[in-house]
C-alpha cells in the first residue's frame, strides 16, 4: 500500500542466506535474509525479519558525525544534534513524543560517532506503525526554539562534565589533537570544550546543520525483528516518501601524510594509574581490499589476552592491568592504537618501548599460519555470538551501514578476513605501522619521565 503515490523503489535487493546451524557452514557470515530498498528520494530501508518474537529493533543511521563538523569553532554539533532531535515538532511536542514512547514500552536512545549518528528504539511489534510515523515526523519537521536549544546545550555540557572524571577521555582527546592536524578527526565527538561552552550562541548554525544532513540521502532505516518486509516498506512509504532530498556535500579536509613521530604528555590532576597510548596513522575502512581486516587481525594478534605481549606484561610480569587495541574502521584514514594502563609510573618508558618493539617484530616476521587460523575462527564465532537478539543484530548492521549503507559489507569484510595470509598482515603492518606514522601519548598524575 503506497498512499503517497510515488513510484516503486528504485532498486530492491533481496539477499538470502540460509541460517546455518554451524558458524562454519558454507555461506555468508551474516545469516539473515534481508531486504534492501532505495526510495526515490534517496532514503534507504533495510528490513531484517528474525525469529526473536514480539520485539522490533529500529535503527536510523544518519551519515553525519563529528567528521562532518568542518567549520572551525563548530566541533560537537553532530552530537548536539543527537540531543536536539528529542526536542519535539509541531505535531509531537517533546512531551508527547516521550508519552508515545512510554505507551509503546520502548527503550529509546541515540549515539554519535566520528562518522555517523544513530537513533535506536526497541519496542513491541504492534507499535511499529506509530513509532515509524513519529520518527518520520522528527526527522522531517524538528522544531526547536532558541530557548530550548540553549537549554539543550547545557545538557551537552553536562555530558562533557560527566565524562571529564575519566582520564581515558582526556587521553582520547589529546591523542586525536596530536595525531591529526587538518582532518576533522582531530576533535572528538564531544567537541573541544571551548566549542561546547560556546554552543548557546550558535542557534542559527544548528539549523544549518540540520538542513545539511538530516536528509534522506544521508539516512538509512534498519528494521530488525518480528516484522514482514512488505508491511514495513508500505509504512515507510507512507510517512518518509515525501521527505525532500538535499544537495549538501561537505568538503572534509584531507590529513596530509604524517611527517614523523609525535608525542604528548598529560598531567592529570588527581590520583590515577598512568596510561600510555601508542597509535599509528592507518587507512580508511576497506571492504574491497584486505587492509581493514588485516589491521584488525594485527591488533588482536598483538594485544588480545592470548597474545605474547599481553601474557608477558599483564599475566607474567604484571606490569599492566589492562592492554587494549583498536584498529581503524572509519570512513577516512584513522588511527591504529594500543592503550596500556601501567601499574607503576616508572615502568611507562619500558612498556612503551616493548609495545613498539612488538609491533616492529610483527612487521619483520610473519605470524605462523596456525595462530592466524585460530584468530579467524575466533572472529567468526565472535560475530555470530553477537547476534543474540534483534537489537544486537540491528546495532551490528548499523555500524557497517554507516560505512557502506548495506549489510553486504559485513559479508565482504569477513570474506577478506577468511582469506588473510601471514604475508597480508606483514605487508599491511609494514605499510602503516611505521615510526613516521607513530604518535605516543602518556598520562599520569604528574609528568612521566621520558
Amino acid at each position: 500500500m503506497r498512499l503517497t503515490g510515488f513510484t516503486p523503489a528504485a532498486s530492491v535487493l533481496c539477499l538470502c542466506a540460509a541460517v546455518a546451524s554451524s558458524a562454519f557452514a558454507a555461506g555468508k557470515i551474516f545469516p539473515y535474509n534481508y531486504v534492501q530498498e532505495d526510495l526515490p528520494n534517496g532514503l534507504r530501508l533495510i528490513t531484517i525479519p528474525t525469529d526473536y518474537r514480539n520485539i522490533v529493533a529500529l535503527y536510523i543511521v544518519v551519515g553525519a558525525g563529528s567528521r562532518n563538523e568542518v567549520e572551525p569553532g563548530k566541533s560537537g554539533f553532530a552530537h548536539l544534534f543527537e540531543h536536539l532531535m528529542f526536542r519535539g515538532t509541531a505535531e509531537y511536542s517533546a512531551e508527547r513524543y516521550q508519552q508515545e514512547l512510554s505507551s509503546a514500552g520502548a527503550a529509546s536512545n541515540a549515539f554519535t560517532t566520528s562518522d555517523f549518528t544513530a537513533y535506536h528504539t526497541t519496542f513491541s511489534k504492534e507499535d511499529l506503525p506509530r513509532i515509524l510515523s513519529m520518527e518520520a515526523d522528527r526527522f522531517q519537521h524538528l522544531s526547536v526554539d532558541e530557548a530550548a536549544y540553549k537549554t539543550e546545550t547545557r545538557a551537552v555540557l553536562g555530558e562533557f562534565n560527566k565524562n571529564s572524571a575519566n582520564p581515558q577521555q582526556k587521553l582520547y582527546e589529546v591523542m586525536r589533537a596530536t595525531a591529526f592536524r587538518a582532518h576533522t578527526y582531530r576533535h572528538t565527538t564531544m567537541g573541544f570544550l571551548e566549542d561546547v561552552e560556546a554552543m548557546p550562541n550558535e542557534y542559527e548554525y544548528s539549523r544549518e546543520f540540520y538542513s545539511r544532513y538530516y536528509r534522506p540521502e544521508y539516512t538509512t532505516i534498519i528494521v530488525v525483528g518480528d516484522v514482514e518486509a512488505k508491511k514495513v516498506r508500505s509504512l515507510v512509504d507512507e510517512r518518509w516518501g515525501v521527505w525532500k532530498r538535499g544537495d549538501y556535500k561537505p568538503q572534509i579536509p584531507a590529513e596530509p601524510p604524517q611527517d614523523g613521530p609525535r608525542t604528548a604528555n598529560i598531567d592529570w590532576p588527581s590520583p590515577t594509574l598512568p596510561f600510555v597510548e601508542v597509535a599509528y596513522r592507518g587507512p580508511a575502512f576497506a571492504d574491497e581490499s584486505p587492509e581493514t581486516a588485516a589491521l584488525d587481525a594485527t591488533a588482536r594478534l598483538l594485544f588480545d589476552h592470548s597474545a605474547p605481549l599481553y601474557q608477558k606484561l599483564v599475566i607474567n610480569e604484571q606490569k599492566l592491568d589492562s592492554l587494549n587495541a583498536g584498529p581503524p574502521d572509519n570512513l577516512d584514514p584513522e588511527l591504529f592504537g594500543a592503550i596500556a594502563r601501567v601499574k607503576k609510573e616508572s615502568d611507562v618508558p619500558q612498556v612503551t618501548k616493548e609495545i613498539i618493539a612488538a609491533i616492529e617484530e610483527f612487521a619483520a616476521k610473519p605470524v605462523d599460519a596456525k595462530t592466524l587460523e585460530a584468530l579467524k575462527q575466533h572472529v567468526r564465532y565472535e560475530f555470530v555470538l553477537r547476534m543474540s537478539n534483534s537489537e544486537a543484530i540491528a546495532e551490528s548492521v548499523a555500524r557497517f551501514v554507516a560505512l557502506r549503507r548495506t549489510p553486504e559489507a559485513i559479508n565482504r569484510y569477513f570474506d577478506f578476513y577468511a582469506k588473510l595470509t601471514p604475508q597480508d598482515l606483514q605487508r599491511v603492518a609494514r605499510q602503516y605501522l611505521t615510526e613516521k606514522n607513530r604518535t605516543v601519548v602518556t598520562l599520569a598524575t604528574k609528568a612521566v619521565t621520558k
Binding site: 554451524s22 562454519f24 509503546a104 572524571a165 588527581s270 604484571q318 592491568d321 564465532y381
Partner: protein, 496 residues
C-alpha cells in the same frame, strides 16, 4: 524436556530459595538457537564476607573466573577459549556470585569442560592470585574511586545506608583487607560457600537433551552444604537528612541520595513502587519527571533517574544485569554531574520532585501510561535468551513466576490509589542519605547548611512559571545542619 537430577525450574515455574539442600537447582530455557548460555549462580556474596575480610567473596569469585585450573594454567585456558571467542564472565554482589558464559553450540563440549573445571577444580596459583588481587585493588582505587565519580557516589550511598550491616561494605572490599588476604582465605570461603545448596544452574539455547543432567551430575561433586543464611537486620534508621561529601579534585559535582525500603521483587508493594520509580525517573530514558524537569526544562545536567533495585554500572548499561538479586533494597535518585555553581539547586530540584510525588501522588493518566510502559518494557528487558535466563533465575530466588508474567499480573491488578498509598508509606524526602563528589566540599557544605538559597544560573531566559518554581526550589528546606554533614577525603574511601 530435560529431566534433571534434582529439581527443575523450567519456563516460568518458580520455586522458593528456602528449598532443602537436595542438590543444585536447574533453570532451563531450551530453544532452537545455536547459541547456548550457561549461568551458574551461587547464592553467596559479600553479605557472607567475614567481618575482618571484606571483599573475600568477590575475590574468591574473581580468582575462579580469571585464573588457571588444577590442570591448566590461565594462559592455557585463554588459548583454549580464544578460537571459540568466548570467556567466563564472573561478577559478585551481596547475595549472588555469577559465572556466565555463552558459546556457539559447535563448541559447547569444549567450552563447558573449561568452565566446569574453573569452578570445580581451581588451580589456586600464587601468581594468579597476585594478579587478580592487584586488579581488584586497582578496580577499587583507580577505576571506581579515581575515574568514575558517579559510580563512586552510588556505591558510597549504599555503604552509608547499610553501615554496620552485612551489606555495609563495598563488594570489592577495602584496600587494606585485600592486602591482608591469602590464597588460604579464598580456599576457606570456597569450601564453605561453593556448595550444591547455594547453586542454581541456568541453561538456555540449543543444547542437547542430555546436557542439563550432565551439568547437574558434574556439579553434584560440590559439597551438599546448607544455603547461606546471613541474618539481615533492618538498616539503621535515618533520623534526618545526612550528607557525606567526598572531597575530590574533579570538574563537576555528582549526586546520589536515597533511603532503605522494605520492598523487594515479590512483595505486595513492589509493582506500586516500580510504577512510581519509572514515572519519576526510568533509567536512561527521557520519560521520567526528573529527566524532564531537571535536564529537559532546565539543562542542569545529562540526566536524572530513580531506582528501587540495585543497578550498578548504570552509566554503561541501558538495562540492568540480572543475578544481582538482594533481600533488601533501597530507593535511590541519581543526579548526573552538575556544574558546581548549580550543585545545591540540582539537589533541591530532585528533592522537590520527590516531595511533590509523595504528597500529590500520580495522576490517573500518568499511572495508566506508566503501567502500559512497564508491561511492554519487560519484553525489552528479556530480549535475549541470556537475559531471559538471568531473570528466570532471579525469579527462582525471589520465589515468583517468570518476571514478565509476574509483573504483568501485578500491574493488571494495580490502581493509582495503590501507588499513591505505597509512595506515602515507603518514601520520604526528609530522612535521606545524601552523597556528593565535589572539589570544594567546604563551600558546598556552607551553601547547604547556611539557610541561604542556592539559586540556579541559566544561559537562556526561562518562562515565568519556571522562574517562580525555581524560587521555591532554591529555598527548599533540606534540614541540614553543619553536624549533619561529613567531609571525607577521596583518598580515604575504600582504604580501610
Amino acid at each position: 524436556m530435560i529431566r534433571p537430577l534434582a529439581s527443575l525450574l523450567c519456563l516460568g515455574l518458580a520455586a522458593s530459595m528456602a528449598a532443602s539442600a537436595a542438590g543444585p537447582r536447574v533453570v532451563a530455557l531450551p530453544s532452537k538457537s545455536p547459541l547456548v548460555t550457561i549461568r551458574l549462580v551461587f547464592t553467596t556474596g559479600s553479605a557472607s564476607d567475614p567481618a575482618a575480610k571484606p571483599g573475600l567473596a568477590n575475590l574468591t569469585g574473581a580468582m575462579l573466573g580469571e585464573s588457571g585450573t588444577r590442570d591448566l594454567t590461565y594462559k592455557q585456558i585463554v588459548d583454549a577459549l580464544y578460537p571459540m571467542a568466548t570467556t567466563v564472565h564472573v561478577y559478585s554482589d551481596k547475595e549472588m556470585t555469577t559465572f556466565v558464559g555463552q558459546t556457539h553450540v559447535d563448541n559447547l563440549d569444549r567450552f563447558y569442560g573449561l568452565m566446569r573445571d574453573m569452578i570445580l577444580h581451581p588451580g589456586w596459583r600464587d601468581d594468579d592470585f597476585a594478579r587478580v588481587r592487584d586488579n581488584t585493588v586497582n578496580a577499587l582505587r583507580v577505576s571506581l574511586r579515581g575515574n568514575n565519580d558517579e559510580e563512586l557516589g552510588k556505591e558510597e550511598l549504599y555503604n552509608l545506608i547499610y553501615s554496620g550491616h552485612p551489606y555495609g561494605h563495598e563488594n570489592l572490599g577495602t584496600a587494606a583487607a585485600l592486602a591482608g588476604m591469602t590464597v588460604g582465605d579464598l580456599q576457606g570461603f570456597y569450601k564453605a560457600h561453593y556448595t550444591q545448596a547455594n547453586l542454581i544452574i541456568g541453561l538456555a539455547g540449543g543444547y542437547p537433551a542430555s546436557f542439563a543432567a550432565r551439568v547437574t551430575k558434574d556439579f553434584s561433586a560440590l559439597p551438599a552444604g546448607q544455603p547461606d543464611s546471613v541474618t539481615l537486620p533492618a538498616p539503621a534508621g535515618i533520623a534526618r537528612n545526612q550528607l557525606t561529601i567526598v572531597a575530590k579534585d574533579t570538574r563537576s559535582v555528582a549526586w546520589s541520595f536515597g533511603l532503605p525500603i522494605e520492598v523487594k521483587r515479590g512483595d505486595p508493594d513492589f509493582a506500586s513502587l516500580l510504577v512510581a520509580q519509572s514515572y519519576l525517573g526510568q533509567h536512561r530514558l527521557s520519560s521520567g519527571v526528573l529527566f524532564s524537569r531537571m535536564r529537559e526544562l532546565r539543562g542542569l545536567n545529562y540526566g536524572d533517574y530513580a531506582y528501587i533495585e540495585y543497578f550498578p554500572r548504570g552509566m554503561f548499561a541501558l538495562e540492568p544485569e540480572p543475578n544481582i538479586a538482594r533481600r533488601q533494597q533501597i530507593f535511590q535518585i541519581w543526579i548526573r554531574p552538575v556544574e558546581p555553581a548549580n550543585a545545591g539547586f540540582a539537589l533541591r530540584a530532585a528533592a522537590f520532585e520527590l516531595n511533590k510525588l509523595i504528597e500529590k501522588g500520580m495522576s490517573q493518566a500518568d499511572f495508566d501510561r506508566t503501567k502500559t510502559f512497564l508491561s511492554k518494557y519487560v519484553n525489552v528487558l528479556t530480549k535475549s535468551k541470556s537475559e531471559e535466563l538471568g531473570y528466570a533465575i532471579d525469579s527462582a530466588y525471589y520465589g515468583i513466576p517468570a518476571y514478565g508474567d509476574y509483573l504483568k499480573a501485578a500491574l493488571s491488578k494495580l490502581t493509582v490509589e495503590d501507588v499513591n498509598r505505597a509512595l506515602k508509606k515507603h518514601l520520604r524526602a526528609d530522612r535521606l542519605q545524601l552523597v556528593a563528589i565535589a572539589k570544594d566540599a567546604v563551600a558546598l557544605r556552607t551553601a547547604l547548611t547556611s539557610g541561604d538559597p542556592t539559586p540556579v544560573t541559566y544561559v537562556t531566559a526561562k518562562p515565568q512559571e519556571v522562574l517562580d518554581e525555581d524560587k521555591i526550589i532554591e529555598r527548599l528546606p533540606l534540614g541540614l545542619r553543619a553536624e549533619d554533614v561529613k567531609i571525607v577525603p577521596v583518598e580515604e574511601v575504600f582504604e580501610k
